[in-house]
Symmetry: C2
Subunit: 338 residues, 2 copies
Amino acid sequence: MIGKNWRTLLRRGDGYFQLCILLLIVLEMAGVALGDPLPSWNEGPAKQAVVGFVRTVTDKSGPQYVPPEKRIATFDNDGTLWAEQPIPFQGFFTFDRVKALAPQHPEWKEKQPFKAILENDMKALAASGEKGAMEIIMTTHAAMTTEEFEKIVKDWLATAKHPRFKRPFTDLIYQPMLELLAYLRENGFKTYIVSGGGVEFMRPWTEKVYSIPPEQVVGSSVKLKLEMRDGKPVLMRLPEIDFIDDGPGKPVGIQKFIGRRPIAAFGNSDGDLQMLQWTAAGEGPRLMLLVHHTDAEREWAYDPRSSIQRFDKALDEAQRRSWTVVDMKKDWKKVFPF
Amino acid sequence: MIGKNWRTLLRRGDGYFQLCILLLIVLEMAGVALGDPLPSWNEGPAKQAVVGFVRTVTDKSGPQYVPPEKRIATFDNDGTLWAEQPIPFQGFFTFDRVKALAPQHPEWKEKQPFKAILENDMKALAASGEKGAMEIIMTTHAAMTTEEFEKIVKDWLATAKHPRFKRPFTDLIYQPMLELLAYLRENGFKTYIVSGGGVEFMRPWTEKVYSIPPEQVVGSSVKLKLEMRDGKPVLMRLPEIDFIDDGPGKPVGIQKFIGRRPIAAFGNSDGDLQMLQWTAAGEGPRLMLLVHHTDAEREWAYDPRSSIQRFDKALDEAQRRSWTVVDMKKDWKKVFPF
């Protein structure tokens, strides 16, 4: 459709000028398709909700305009920006660390929960419970400097492969979410990760993979302590939890680290419910979006009520409050970038 | 001085063109003076160090170029961005809160340390020690929601006046530091506050006063807890310290909240020493700057060795390691914006 302004321009002017105008019209019409900011999203209510929200808050003359400094968007990571099956990927990192450290700990061959990991006995590992999990995390994630830990994470990511896809874990990111992150940033949003995962497990790679800089990553953490080593200050990672950024911890993490309430929040499990509730409770336009894993073929399909990543409470609330739910199978043209 | 390129241009072209070029030259020469990014700084080693550092790290063809995402600058607040005499301004806020709450607590008339504040007895207050201070802070800063606390801070700032200058506390900010913040930001730096003060005491006003948004303020904090109130989520401020962002806590706060080492750090007391050491210990060009309060007339002059805000260790280290020390009386043309 050629707009009124174009028609007025076409009526005026000489042949050369008219040619230029026609060229512009063609480019503009092509741009409607080429310029789709979310090409991996199928048309449908989820995509409409996202685009409609962004148009609403950026429309300066509209009643629901939000100034750029308040355009804060928070994203869960595991299952929202990258995959999380068969276990969250930090779990693979942790198991590989136990195996790498095992030669220095011959006693682990007979000591749970380490024995379970060395023998790939997931049943025995589960039986060790939260206490066992904490012991493993502290053994593999603490008692080293922040710089040493960063190097271990980077080295692991450079070589570790996902068992199903035989690819680096950072390949298993969602193409539609990459487009969404870029689209929000182009519209003046500051995009944050707010994840239950370890903050220092994520920061070494989020800038390269998601264009999210370390200072915009909020996560769980161990306590840090400043020490002098050979006359140089280092930060030691202590074997003690500082903060768990999950469930009711997510609004706390948002307030601690960002100090502003998001206007858009993205998650995929009950651990994100409070973040979405906190976002929804603010005044003005809001976007709450949940990714529902429904695609066993291209990714995974999980039952909201029985998988490790419980999702039933969040899904119920989404339906009750008309939050946006992405049906991965239906709404995404493409899942991974590869 | 007219550069070679200008002369080449002047030799060419017609009269009208030459006139335009001459006009550009005049504007450029005027700009040398008008465009001084630090007009409230006297010429001298401190100003030279700042300008030289910024030129070095932004010179794309130079050997010490730093990409914009790594240009992190951290500023102490009390005594570095705004004044801190006769006591840090959060102290005035705290005393005023005790007085405002006193009618609900008749027992305070006889109970230390509250009695000391109600009677303006600073000696008795000092005698109550750290335990007394903590009791006062918890009584005045906790057991309310984050939104309630924000409102209390804003209301206080709108009416409270500094006893010496009879002006709002947010008037007692340093004009040269405002220029420095703006100059760094124009050169691609992200400017952060890293202060021992309460993070939620600062965030309500730092954006307006320093153009530093809440998410770039790191400070001390109490624990937060998500609760439901009338079906709406709120964050309660608990009477329990979460984090002390001072001394060895500053590098910890930087790592926790920013996750990158600064390349420039600004302070004024021994509580900033570790932040400057942490900054200095990174690779590549670095700027460490300390403000020395030497101006009793326009601001205050404090003895590094005997004032409450001890400064002798940091000053010794600055001299030993050739960090930049601003002599307020000599280096600053103007102290406050008013």
